[in-house]
Every structure is written in C-alpha cells, then in structure tokens.
Symmetry: C2
Subunit: 324 residues, 2 copies
Amino acid sequence: MQQKRAIGIDLGGTNIRIALLSSSGEVMGIHKQPTHAEREVGQILEAMASGIMHLINEYHIEREDIVGVGLGAPGFLSLDAGVIHFSPNLPTVKETPVVALLEKLTGLPVYLENDANAAAIGEHWIGAGQGSRNLLCITLGTGVGSGFILNDTIWHGSNDLAGELGHTTLFLDGLPCNCGRKGCLEAYVSATGIVTRTRLALSGGRSSSLSHLLAQGENQLTSVMIYEHAKKGDRLARELLEETGKYLAVSLGNVLNLLDLETIILGGQVSQAGEFLFRPTIEEVERRAIRAAYHPLKIVPAQLGDHAGIIGAAKTAFDHSRGN
Amino acid sequence: MQQKRAIGIDLGGTNIRIALLSSSGEVMGIHKQPTHAEREVGQILEAMASGIMHLINEYHIEREDIVGVGLGAPGFLSLDAGVIHFSPNLPTVKETPVVALLEKLTGLPVYLENDANAAAIGEHWIGAGQGSRNLLCITLGTGVGSGFILNDTIWHGSNDLAGELGHTTLFLDGLPCNCGRKGCLEAYVSATGIVTRTRLALSGGRSSSLSHLLAQGENQLTSVMIYEHAKKGDRLARELLEETGKYLAVSLGNVLNLLDLETIILGGQVSQAGEFLFRPTIEEVERRAIRAAYHPLKIVPAQLGDHAGIIGAAKTAFDHSRGN
C-alpha cells in the first residue's frame, strides 16, 4: 500500500500556493502561481485544479493515494457548506461554493478552512505549537490573522467567525481600520499599521533616518525597513517597534486572561523584527496576564514561515479523511 | 431506587450558600449562613460540613443518594488537586486542600469549581444559556466574574485561570484596579467601578441628584441607587449607565471577535439596571462585533439570580458522578 498524501492550498490575494504533503507533514512538492485576483472566479478555480494535477503528475502519485485537498482561504466562510461568502482581497469570489466547484474540477474531496486557522493548525501540528494543547497563532502581515487551538482542535466558533484578534479594540476611538471600525489592533500592529504610525510620527516632526526613506517614495517605507533602521540604531524606529510590542501585548494579555492558553505564536513579516518586537511584547504581557504570575508563558516565533498555511490546510484534509 | 441528589455550595466572602438539588436542577432546600471570613479555615470548613448534614437530615435524604458535593469558590484554584491557593475575600484560606478536608468531614465526594464558572454552568444548564453551545456568563457585582461555556463544556484553560474578563484591559493607562493593574474592565463596570466613576464625575463639578446621596454618607452611593436615580431621570446617572454599557460592550465585542459565541449572559447587581445598561451595551456590541453583521447576537439577563452558583456547583457534582 502506498503512503497517503494530501494537497494543501493557500489561496491568497497575491499568490496561490499548492503543496503535496506526506502524512507526517513533509512538503514533498510545491507549486506557486500568481492569483491574478481580478480574474473570474472560475479561472481562479481552474488554476488551482491544474496546479493540483501538475503536482500529482510531477510526483507520480496515484489519485487514490490522495486523501483530499485542504483549501485555506481568506474572508468570511461557511466551512461545512464549503462557501466563501466574501473575501476583501478576492473581489470575484462572492458567495462561491468553492468546495463543490473544486471537487467537480478535481474529482478529489475538498475541505475548506480559514487561512489564519490553517496556519494555526500547521504550527500546532509540526511547528512552534507542537505539544501545546491550547494556543493562539498570529500572523502579523498586511493584516493581522489569528487562529485558536483549544484542546488540540481548531476553534471555529458558532459561525466560523472566530479568531479575529486583529479586530479586537485596542483604543476606543483610535486609528481607522480597514474593516471600517476604529481602534482595532490591526490598525496599530499590522505592517500597514506600523507604517501609518511611522508616517504620523514623522509628520509630527520627529527626526529619524526613516524620513529619508519616505522622501524616496511612497513604497520605500515598509515594516521591514523600519526593522532595518531599528537595527542600525534609529531611535524612532526602535520606539515604534517597542510600542508595537506593547500594543500587541495588551491584546495578548486580554486573550490570556480570558482563555489561559499555554502558547502564543507570532509569525508574518512584522515578527521578523525579532527581539525588537518580542522583548517588549513579553515584558508587557507579563505585566498584564494574571497567569504570568503563576505559570510560565511561551511567546514564540512561528517556525513554518510561508508554509504554515499549506501545511495546515493539508492537515485538515488528513483529519477529515480519518473522520476527525 | 431513590432519585439522585447533589449538594451545591457557593462559598463567598460574605455568605456561604448550601443547596440540595435534584438531578433536574430543582433547588429542594437551601441553607445560608454568614461566612465570617476572618475565622480559621478549619471553622469555615466545619460550618460547610454541618450545613450539608443539616440539609441531608432536614430533607430525609439517604447519604448514598447524594452523588457528591460541588464547591464553588472564589480566587485562584487548582481544580483537579482540589486546592484553593489564594482568595482575596477569604484571607484564612491559603494553599488549602479544601476538597480533601471537606471529603474527610462529610464522607462525600467533593468537586471544586471556580465560583464564576459555577454560575456559567448553572445558567447554561437550566438558566438563560439553555440551548446555547458557546456562551459567556458575566456577573457584574463588587467585581466582575465570568465563565465560558465552549462546546457545551466549561472552559478552564491550561491552568484553571480562564474567564478573567474583569481583568482584560479597557484603557491602557486607566483607573487603578483591585488586582494592582490599571485600566481593567472591572475598574469601570463593576458596582465598585461605577461608584468610583460617579464620584469622579461629581468631584469634577457635575450637578446631579446623586450628589445629595454622597453628602448623606459614604455608603449611600451604590450602583443600585445610581440606577434608581437614572429611573427618576437624573441625567448624570443615565450617562454613567450608558457609558458602563459602552465600556462593557468593548470587551464583549472583543470576546465575540475572538471566539464567535452565540450568547452572552449578564447577571449580578449591576445588571439590574435593565434597559439602562442592556440597550447601550447591545448597540455598541453591534458596532464592534464582526459577527453582528452576519448572525444575530443574544445578550440576555441571567435567570437564576443568586442561585446560579449553587446550581452550577451541584451540576459539577452530577457531571463528575457520570464520569463527564
């Protein structure tokens, strides 16, 4: 008997990543293509189907050895129904029964999962969350994605809408957020939020080597560049990352006081700031989380990088095939 | 065969309530006595044991028909170990193995539960949370107690420290909280917090019929009196309750965005303000909770009043006896 395999897909606004995985979590092959999100949804689905077929052929896998396809997707989803209702970065995907459509195109069973949840499942399976029964996995990218593992199982909530840490309130009447609300955590600690706060500080007259970047053009000022300038000693860049850690820690302290988790995993481009972000985050969480006085906390970097989503999506397919 | 019964205890800083319950949740008898929290812990335990015996004798119950005793207690507990580590309102109860001690005194199996969790279990069983798979039950009293039911089960967290909604941060550098931190929700929306905010408003020169109360003595200004004055049309009292609802809603919105629950139950003396509190709370939650746009929310008053804790504690004993 052949070893069982699964396909994991990370359907993003920019790229579609498709991977072939072994049941131990090994990424055997990967196929990446631009999403071209402006295309018709049918074309996006066909691109995914052909990517899957490409991998199956390339690695000489028998179709019957594929337990299924896990599809990690952003936006508001109904998981059991297999529908993406709405996804800000995929404008043509609206009330789309992606599971039924992709099953028809591939002949394989397809399982839908929220992309941030897929990352949490991946990190819990073979990443930074191994052995932690209760954890929160956060991706600090353009937005803030997050997923809870509770009792070793992803937490979907009553309507598949759980895990929106990015839209918890940090300041009651704070900066505007992309979601239309004000003061959301995402408006402060996402890559976009950090850049916004940097612009505000610079326009307020703060002197910093970052002001040269801004003068070079709109797109030069990024969270990664802010980290680079912090490393070189720029005072404002360091303060902004320190403040980012503190803000993040307020929300993490809230989560810990509510749910008493063992582990918090930080991934995404912002988390690359390393100690400039982790140190202030951990210090402030220790001040705010009641459990910190009694039990050690683990606030750790993600281990799977960009692969967390595809690995977690594939795990979803393995779990479903075992009837979990 | 006789019907099975359980004992539920609510060990508070002021009173000890002990109840005899049927397996359908009927409170058959109740025994209430002052805690005299300054007593030695051994005396408090003996008082509980004699209360239990009193009820068993009064209702002519055979000991073998009692499945066990559920003990709801405040503070930091280790549930499986049956230990109360520390409880602010029970100064003599420190690192006390209450389960072992009470089992020795009564000969009955004893199960420990956090008091706020016991209230959540009670409301979920036969109160306002019946039929809701995922809920948060909040008691707005001197402090803010809360307990989560997730997948029809109380959520304890990794170290029995879950459910501390009262110590989530509302304002990063806000009013001092009894826990030693700043800006906790409890410092704003507990009965104590509302009175503090009222005093601040009055000392800031706001005119209100409440200022006469304050002039009558320290203890005249209570959250219940503020509600009474709101009913009579006092503008400041109404504003304070409106603001209380808004503050509470920020934290509830956060919980809903994190966990996507079906139901939130509000109990305790502050919740008696009824529409003066519930209306602004619901309005603000609808602005902040993502799920509000997609699925109806239930934010409802508790139904079991002071009995929620004893009912939930007894349920804990029934569940344990069934091996849950």
